[in-house]
Every structure is written in structure tokens, then in C-alpha cells.
């Protein structure tokens, strides 16, 4: 039940109470209960001074953390997770289904996958040779082959994927997670983006807080020497900085005492302390000296292929962030000298290099989380903004395809070895258990213990949700 906002500060106005008391005292008791657990209080007035205070979930959570492996540019599902023998049979012939307009409308013939497929694990889930390492884990995966998007162009599709709506400026799913749950991490914000070099079309808005308070925006860790903006102190020595901060704190505290410990100043003091901890903590976090050679090699930190080495660092850092209690971690792809996964031409070389960069590190991340007992509380999602066409663009590429594509999830609360949904015999359109991006978001929030219909923020005259007015939990893939 959602309670309308009103000026009195209590969840129900007198008039509303009178209107609703027809349904008995139960309503009133419920209002009181909901207010006490902190979830149904006026969301628009959630304590902006302590944004990351851990908050009660609607029901027990399976996932405490999400690692979102964003495959920028859209890998081809029929070349990785959704094998279609029919494509080999019809290879080179005109495509026999009706073709919707595509991004470039440079329609070629049916194009067989250049890769071999094998069945893996006890579940026998097939995967192409592009993801030989990752495929070792399929018994832990729920592979959804019937994903759809509403947009066939990167920017809008990315906004849709990240924020639940295909326009710029709405809160990212990571921001919603931080807003809904707070964070257990004392040294870092709740939503961290590990940038591998490529930023999704649509830019920083994919990681923004939109109309939610700025505290919830994604903090982007770059791959550079200064991973976080402004993290390096301006003072020439640590002593100088400590002197400055000590004085600052003293003066702020006097101000706070004068104002009877006003909440906002107390938060400002706390923020300088957190900022200072981040300054000391981030370099430590990104220094892998304490990781054994075996672990470093498992991820591929020292791989000769640059893309692999970069993504290995991101994956290892993701594990370390999970250990620190960070709520939502998104990884963007490294640049492997093709245009992302966006192979409108030269599919063979482009997909080979892109897969080479991420396959081993992803497999290592799953292995490592599992051996540390963290996979049970971490949800990993591998997904792009859409898929690619089973017919060629030109002769050797594939165009954008929002009508059917594959993603997989693994870890907390996921029923392993599951294939959910299906595309038609060409892999063009989802035909069975068709799922939307809203369904993905509803399921993610569900696994984090949040009812996606209850997590709202008052904006622009109504209670906004990550899933807007949509979203069905995909129960088939839940353990």
C-alpha cells in the first residue's frame, strides 16, 4: 500500500484516516508498522544526511551485492549462448522470415555462426568456443534466451537497460539499489562503476542518480593512476593534510555545538572523515600486492592481451569491493580496438577479441567468489542492451536486434543449470517466455529483498519506480 504525501508529516492525514477507517483499525496498525520499519515513510524525505544507512528489506534478501557485467555494444547471442542449426543450413540464402527495419538496413543473407558449440556441465547448456572458460560454470547459470528491449539503438537501449526508461536522466539501477538498501561499506559509496576504458553510449547518465539524491550516483573508478576524481590530496605531506582536517573538524564541531548538533553539520564532518578514509583506502584497494600469484594468474592480471589484463583487474577489484560490502558494482568493457561488441562488420575478428578480453576474468571471478563463499550472497549478471541479427549486415557483420537476445545470471538465489525462454529457429525473435528489461529489474530487486512495486520516489507528481508500471519477477530462474 502506498500512502499519499501530506503536509502533516504523518503517513495519513485526518481526512484519509477517516476515509480508510472503513476498512478497520488494521489499516492504521499497518501504517504504523510500515512507518516503523522505515520503508513506507515518505520516501521523498528519506534522510539525505545519512544516505547509506543500511535499511530494512521488504523480505529477506538472497543477494547482498550485484556485479553487473555490462557487455557494451551487444554480443551476438546466436554466436554464443543460443545455437541455431538452422542458420548453418540456410547459410548464404536470403533470410526467410519477415525482417523488421534495422539500424542500418543493409540486409545481407542468413549468416551461420563461425564458431563451434559444445555442451557443458551436467546441465549440458551449450556455449560457443568464444566463452570456453565462462562455460565451465554453466551449472550455476540461469540462461535467459528470450530477452527483449524496446530500443534498437545503443543510447536509448542503454538508458532503458540501466534506468528502466529509454530517455536520459533517470536514476540508474545501481542508484535505486543504494537508495533502497543503503550500504554496509564504511569506506566507499554504495554504487561503484569500474570503467575498463569504454563508456556506454549515453555516457555518465547510465550511472546517474537522476531525481534521487546525488549520494546515490555511481562513483566511477577509472583505470588510471587516480582512479577516483579528486582522490589525491593537494597537500604536499600527510601531516599537512591532517593539520588542515583537524582544524576543519574542530571548527565544524564548534558550529555543531552552537546549533545543538545539527544533523547536517554532523554529516559534513562525517563526510570529510569518509573522504579522508577513501583517500587512504582506495590506493590500498587497488594495490593487488596482497593477492597470491595463483589468484592473479587465475584472473589473467598478467595476460599478454591488454584487454584481458585490464578486465582481469576489474574483476579482481569487483571481488574486493564485494568483500568491502559495496552494494552494486558495474564493469564496463575494455577497448580491444574494435567498436565495442558492436560488430556491424568483421564479426569473426571483433567477437574473438572481445570475448578474449572478458572470458577468462569472468570465469575466474565466479571461481574466486565461490571458493570464498561469497557467490551465495552475490548476484552476477552478464548482459548487453540488445542482441544481434541472425542475418548478415553486409557480408560479415550483424546488425542490432532488440527482438530476442540472451543474458545469464548466476549466484545468489539463482537456480543453476537453467535455460529459460527461447527464440525462434533462427534466433531472431523471442517466442517463448518473452521477458523485458523491466522483468530483469524486478527480478534483481526481488533477489535483493525489495518489492519493485514498493520502492518508490516521489517525483514530478507521482511515485516513480525503477520498473515504472511494469515488471514481472522471473520466478522460473529462482532457486
Amino acid at each position: 500500500m502506498n500512502f499519499p504525501r501530506n503536509r502533516s508529516g504523518s503517513p495519513l492525514s485526518r481526512r484519509q484516516w477517516l476515509q480508510r477507517s472503513a476498512s478497520g483499525f488494521g489499516t492504521l496498525a499497518l501504517a504504523n508498522m510500515l512507518t516503523n520499519d522505515g520503508l513506507a515513510v515518505d520516501e521523498g524525505r528519506r534522510d539525505t544526511q545519512k544516505p547509506f544507512l543500511p535499511r530494512a528489506t521488504h523480505f529477506p534478501a538472497k543477494a547482498k551485492h550485484i556485479i553487473y557485467l555490462y557487455m557494451d555494444g551487444a554480443p551476438s547471442h546466436v554466436d554464443i549462448w543460443d545455437p541455431k542449426p538452422r542458420l548453418a543450413k540456410d547459410n548464404g540464402k536470403p533470410f526467410s522470415m519477415k525482417i523488421e527495419p534495422t539500424q542500418f538496413n543493409n540486409i545481407g543473407n542468413t549468416l551461420a555462426s563461425p564458431w563451434k558449440f559444445q555442451n557443458y556441465g551436467e546441465s549440458g547448456i551449450p556455449c560457443s568456443d568464444l566463452f570456453k572458460h565462462t562455460a565451465q560454470h554453466v551449472d550455476k547459470f540461469a540462461v535467459i534466451r528470450s530477452m527483449t528491449s524496446n530500443f534498437s539503438e545503443h543510447t536509448n537501449a542503454n538508458y532503458f537497460l540501466h534506468t528502466g526508461i529509454g530517455v536520459q536522466g533517470r536514476p540508474s539501477m545501481g542508484a535505486w539499489a543504494g537508495y533502497g538498501l543503503g550500504s554496509d561499506c564504511a569506506n566507499l559509496p554504495a554504487y561503484v562503476v569500474l570503467n575498463g576504458g569504454l563508456t556506454p553510449p549515453g555516457g555518465l547518465d547510465n550511472f546517474g542518480s537522476g531525481f534521487l539524491p546525488a549520494s546515490y550516483q555511481g562513483s566511477v573508478f577509472g583505470a588510471s593512476k587516480e582512479p577516483v576524481a579528486y582522490i589525491q590530496r593537494r597537500e604536499a605531506s600527510a601531516v599537512l593534510q591532517e593539520n588542515k582536517l583537524a582544524l576543519l573538524k574542530k571548527m565544524d564541531q564548534r558550529d555543531s555545538e552552537r546549533l545543538n548538533h545539527e544533523d547536517q553539520i554532523e554529516s559534513a564532518i562525517a563526510n570529510y572523515e569518509l573522504a579522508y578514509r577513501m583517500q587512504n583506502f582506495v590506493p590500498e584497494l587497488t594495490d593487488f600486492g596482497s593477492e597470491s600469484a595463483a589468484i592473479q594468474n587465475l584472473y589473467g592480471i598478467h595476460a599478454k592481451t591488454k584487454g584481458t589484463a585490464i578486465y582481469a583487474r576489474q574483476c579482481l577489484l569487483a571481488r574486493r569491493l564485494v568483500e568491502e560490502g559495496v552494494r552494486f558494482i558495474e564493469l564496463t568493457c575494455p577497448n580491444v580496438s574494435h567498436d565495442r561488441w558492436d560488430q556491424h562488420g568483421n564479426l569473426l575478428a571483433g567477437h574473438t577479441d572481445n570475448a578474449m578480453a572478458v572470458d577468462q576474468p569472468i570465469a575466474a571471478l565466479i571461481t574466486d567468489l565461490e571458493q570464498r563463499g561469497l557467490l551465495d550472497e552475490t548476484l552476477i549478471i552478464w548482459s548487453a542492451e540488445f542482441g544481434r541479427t541472425p542475418f548478415a549486415q553486409g557480408t560479415n557483420g550483424r546488425d542490432h536486434n532488440p527482438f530476442g537476445f540472451t543474458l545469464w545470471m548466476c549466484g545468489a538465489g539463482i537456480k543453476g543449470g537453467t535455460i529459460h525462454g527461447a527464440t525462434d529457429e533462427y534466433g531472431y525473435k523471442a517466442v517463448e517466455n518473452k521477458q523485458s528489461i523491466h522483468d530483469l529489474h524486478a527480478t534483481m530487486l526481488h533477489l535483493m529483498g525489495i518489492d519493485h512495486e514498493q520502492l518508490t520516489f516521489r517525483f514530478s507528481g507521482r511515485d516513480m519506480r525503477l520498473t515504472d508500471v511494469h515488471g514481472e519477477i522471473i520466478h522460473d530462474i529462482l532457486a
Binding site: G169, A229, R233, A236, L247, N260
Partner: protein, 236 residues
Amino acid sequence: MIVTSATYQQTSIVSAELITRDPRNRLLARQSRIRLEAEAIRDSSIQSAGVLSTKIGGRGVYPPQPAGIYVLTQQKKAWPESQGNDRFRRGMYIFFWRSSPYPLMPTFDAPEASVTCTRRSRSNTPLQALTLANDRSFFEFAQLLAEKILQSDATSDTDRIRLAMQRTLARNPTPFEQTRLQAFVDAQKTWYAKNPQHAKTVAPDFLPANWELSDAAAWTALSRVLLNLDEFITRE
């Protein structure tokens, strides 16, 4: 009308009892403390340093921003860094790329340019603290404020501290503050005297004659403290 009313002109100093009775100040028995908006925080710093450009209108300006901002966008955007007075225009004149706004803006809750904004939220985050502490622009404002202090006709440190407080917080220091700030300045002078190579990068660019670099650097350090105070970025 509103700002001239007695209600608006109340102090924000509040008793513990009043906080308990009316935590959100719905009854308006006091003034609310409000953190300044992103643009105003920057404007206030520039005003304190005495270099605010009051020019009205014209093309957007491009104050310095950290390198690497456009690593995060699909297309690289031009950012021809402004020189001279254009660096000190009001925040509302800063050129706004929707996909990569000037970083101060989103950090301090400036709204998205692509959706309607009925009310700005006011968050309080460690990234704000890092920005105020380490951003190149704010460092530059502190240097300029120090320059202003050194150029003044104040003849003692006591007077200089008073001037610095007046320029930043529009009030005189309490005896406690006076003592602490003086001790801080003295300690900084000593440190920079021992480490002259660092004094050069911290001291204002245009030193009035007869000032030692190390002493000048100490006043930049003091200016930074004052510009980073919660009281400074808050309308009391």
C-alpha cells in the same frame, strides 16, 4: 516580501527542545540552515576571493575541470579552458554538456538538464568533501583569497584572520577561533619554511613585495580551511 519578513530573518540557532518538538521546522520557529546550491557554492568562493566577474549574459564559459571527464562520454567534447575573468564568472554561465556536465554540478545536486526539476535535492556526500578539498578551481580560489589578505592594509595576523573570517563567513572570529587559526597559521609557516620547494606551488601567484613564500603559503592553507567549512557552504 518573504526575505524581509520577521520569520525569514530569524536565526537558525536552535534549542534542543525545539529540535525535539519540530525537527523539520514545519512551524517556522527558526530559520532553516540550507546548503547552498552547486553554482552558489562556487560563486561564494569566488566572491570571497574578491574576483567574481559580474558580467551579465554572453556565451558559456569553461572553467578548469579535471582531465579525463570525456573518457566517459561517447564523443569527446570541446572544453577550451577559459582564461582571465571568464574563469570567475558565476556558475550559471558554465557551459553545460548534458552528457558530461561540469563535475561540480551533479556532485552538488544540480539537476539533470533533460528532465523537469520541481525541487533540487540536497545530499551530503564524501565526493562533495573531496571536491571542495582537492578541486583545482577551489584551490585557485583559496590562493586568490590569500592574495587578497596579503594585499590588504592589515598589519597584524590578528587583523588578517579577522579579515579572512569576514570575507568568508561575514563575521568576526570567536576568541577560540582566533587562537586556533593563529596556531594553525604559525604551524604552516614553520612547515613551509622548512620545505620551501612546496611553498612555491601553494603560495599565491602574485605576491606583494616583502612577503616570504612560506608565510604566503600559510595563508593559502588557512583560506582553504575557511572555504571548506560547513558554515561557508551553508546559508545559516
